[in-house]
Amino acid sequence: MASKFLSTQTVKATRGFAAQAAAKPAATEFSPVPREPVKTTTLSNGIVVTSIETNAPLSRVGIAFKAGSRNEPSGKEGIIHLLRMSSSLSTKQSTQFSLTRVINQAGAALTCTSGREHVLYSVDASRKQIDGVLPKLADAATQQVFKPWELSDNLYKIKLDLAAVQPETQVIELLHKVAFRTGLANSLFCPSHLVGKHTTEVLQSFVAANLRSDNAAVVGVGIPHDRLVAYAQSLALKAGQSCSGAPSKVHGGEVRVDTSSSLAYVAVAAPGASLADTKAMVAFALLQRALGAGIPVKYGSGAGSKLNQAVLGAGAVSSLNLNYSDAGLFGFVAAAPASDAGKVVSAATKVLRSASVNESQLSRAKAQLKADLLMVKENTGVLVEELALQALLNRADLLSTVDNVSITDVNAVASRLASAKLTVAAIGNLSNVPFVDEL
């Protein structure tokens, strides 16, 4: 009897699960985790609240502003680097000590990331602890005071950051500097000659002018939307827009920095797509995958990449695609031993100039791009930043557009590269690196 009883139970249980599975709506192609859809609310003071309830035990909340290094006044570049550094310093309400200890005690993490067009203060904590740390996030993001002695006490962090900047990062910063000249040209890192020159007043006036409610977004992953709306309403932010900088234009040009390295790092770029033009943006992203963005197989030769095929293993080349609200850059970054750098850069430039894709390359690029976009949704840290950028810069969700982009669209943007004016940035041992007019 006992065994019979058990067996009926088992069958019932199985049926129960089967019935539940059948009752669920058909899962879409890509949704490994049951998530609720993205919800967005715009408050009366202009703050955009966007959240996605992941039903996961970890919550992440961010306060983002559409203000970045491009908003820095000239002669005072590097403010954004100091903002990152100052995110854990004393605020109007909390001391540096209490800010750090409350975050630590909750097992949470407070970070400040910034780009050329955005600043994002975010905190992650377990769902139970998030309520305790949200006030500290509000403090850090909206109540900065920048006490002079704390700034000078923490200056070593800026120096440490600058010493740790890798040449592959530096070459991208140099590329921006020469390509845009102003605005987007400003680096994410403080220029070394301005370290320690930013006073409390300079930082406070930047914050007062740029971190305002009309260009703010509050984003959350793993938090109920109404809870986040109430939180956003409690933020004390000045109303109004930030001063928008001059529109960006890609100028051609060249910058070369000689160092004692045995390698040469070279970035070559042409005008790319801005965030406003979603179709061109996706087309460039697909072209980037076709030309090769990193090596998808570990220790592989990157045989699928046109750039890698062209340089025949003499150096590492990866295609570059950067999009900003009103401008973009498309090109490649190469690293090669000094003796081969000339060959590598010339061959890669030839590929860039004559770029085109066929059907099989395009379908591979589409698969790679979709995987990359989905990977962004997988990592909640990146997802918070992605939601913030979508809210602040009206950036569209690209996933739905990928399939609508045809081979003619991609080849149309590729043909622009044939005659585009090039910008070249190079750092390292440049003895064999060709000049821009030789490319």
Binding site: T95, F97, S98, R101, Q105, K147, P148, W149
Partner: protein, 112 residues
């Protein structure tokens, strides 16, 4: 009526007593201010570290001048004595902040 008069009277008394005590303490005869002659506890040292450079320079000047006159066994000319009304407690806001921070740390250490 007595109620409205009392605070004025007390304030006046306090000011008079304060001025008397200030002049009796003697440091003003060397041109020093109240916050120049605080006992240098770790709190005071930290507060001094946070002062703006201009305020520190003025403070150091007053202290050096006082040491010079003290060595000469002389007071400053009477018109250069610091007056009770002109004394600025320039260190107090910084000192209060340092003390608050220390107390906050101590209460945390007790809790955890």
């Amino acid at each position: 009526m007595a109620v409205t008069k009392a605070p004025g009277f007390i304030n006046q008394l306090r000011a008079t007593l304060g001025r008397f005590a200030y002049n009796a303490s003697g440091f003003n005869k060397y041109g020093l201010m109240h916050d120049d002659v605080l006992f240098e506890t770790p709190d005071v040292e930290e507060a001094i570290r946070r002062l703006p450079q201009k305020v520190v320079d003025d403070r150091n000047y007053r202290i050096m001048r006082a040491l010079q006159y003290s060595g000469l066994k002389k007071y400053l000319p009477r018109e250069q004595w610091t007056k009770y009304e002109e004394d600025v407690k320039y260190l107090q806001p910084y000192l209060q902040e340092v003390i608050k921070e220390r107390q906050e740390k101590e209460s945390w250490e007790k809790l955890f």
